[in-house]
Amino acid sequence: MLSETQEIRLFGLRYRTVLVSLTIVAFVILSLMALTLPSVLTPGQGPGAVDDLFSRFHNSGIRLFVLSVLLGVILTASVLTVFSYFSTRKRLARIRTTSKAILESLVGGVLTVDTEGRITIINRAASKILELPSQSPYPDLATMAQRHPRLAEVIRQSLQFDEYVQDDDVAFVNSQGDRLILRTTVSAQVDESGRRVGLVVLVKDVSAIIALEQELRKRDRLVTAGTLAAGVAHEIRNPLSAIELNLRLLRDEVASSSPGHPDMDEYFEVLFAETRRLNRITSSFLQLSRPGPIAKVRVSVQEPVRQVLRLLESEAMGKGVSFSVDLPNDGIEVLGDATKLEQVCLNLLINSMQAMPHGGIIQVSCNRTRSEAGDTVDLIIADQGVGVPKENMQRLFDPYFTTRPDGTGLGLAIADRIVSDHGGTILVESTPGEGTTMTVRLPLPATVDGGQEAS
């Protein structure tokens, strides 16, 4: 569809063309008719020159007129063709510029490949996301397969079997080592006759969206868990005490009525162990369900860390764990609750110690960072423990997720919830067999809630 401005321009062009054509026709007719006038001819030549030139037509005015019109039409067609050529060229250039501008302004990556799998067009976003050159020569399918095996395979299959994909999530580790999730759609690129001339590949980096979705799901689970926890803990605790008491009575009764039964002690031990486990779970439930209001005041980040390190010193020593502490002397302040932050440090450090059954060093450091999101402070706890397997990374902060038989799976969930309540986040990097680094990233006061400090 043409816009109003384009219509006006087109009208102007047609008007000019018609005007020029009429002028040409009139000029040709007048010129040829003028040739028949003796006064126009050069002296001595006479009408004979015209007779030679138009031997068949000079006697007939009608024939001359037909000839004039034919010549006029030919000339008009030539002029129109030239006009049309320039106008089409101009329009094509405009369309190309507009298309390029649209392509380049797209947030998502767009690339086209021909039927041989060679890239023909790639926009800036695709070049950035896929880390491919934005100018030709572009890589072919085989070269692309080295960096993007899954994407190359999707393209190859689409070309070979005419099977296209929509919103297929493809993982890709970029040169910075970040794992990206690329949502890919491949469709056929057809010409005017409907013949396939290649493929259009749309690539969108949805890593942040997926991370956000996971975070929201996690929060939902936490809220649900917290709500359930209070009720469950209260409902379970009282009958649990009664069970425990009656178990004791039963054990005493059994011991007095049939003494010396070796298996009986073992049965009771199992029952008591399970009761202990239930007790521990209900206590953790209550901790999760009673996060308490966070009194946000200016607190030094280092102080809760130092306090918890003091608390854990002797226990760590007994387990062959030592702390390597690098905390700046000047207090880095955040808006928060010192006790809650102590709980975070405790849970993370306990987690690190539990991951190091043979001892080792836990490095604790703290520094300011600056990012697009604002100024933050990073509290880093790096252990030399067993590490977290890749498949467990996503579930690490999920309530009740644990790999230890005696764990409740609430320590990290509680830490995550507290940090989240402070507007922060916990980042995890881990190499199985080498250790785990947990980074508690908290916003500095200027960036908390748009700079408004809580009273």
């Binding site: 605790r237 005490s241 009761t275 202990r276 007790n279 521990r280 206590s283 003091r310 405790l346 320590g411």
Partner: protein, 83 residues
């Protein structure tokens, strides 16, 4: 004669200790009850018993921040009281 609804029955430290001991006896594996008893024992200067109890609380619930803090306090107070 009606009982004043605003009157508050105050439990003495001794009564509280007895009640908590009984509760812990009934449910010996409840870390919260143990912690409550330990706190009362610290208040009553029964530090050795409180420290043992707090250690058992931490063994049951390693993330119990208050128990760890109270244990540290108990350990700091114990030598001072002994002198």
């Amino acid at each position: 004669m009606t009982e004043n609804p605003n009157s508050v029955v105050v439990e003495t430290a001794e009564q509280r200790l007895v009640r908590l001991r009984r509760l812990v006896q009934l449910a010996p594996h409840d870390p919260e009850l143990r912690f409550q008893l330990a706190r009362q024992l610290v208040d009553s200067s029964c530090l050795d018993e409180a420290i043992d109890l707090l250690r058992s609380v931490i063994a049951m619930s390693p993330n119990h921040l208050d128990a760890r803090k109270l244990l540290e306090l108990g350990l700091r107070l114990r030598p001072a009281r002994r002198v």
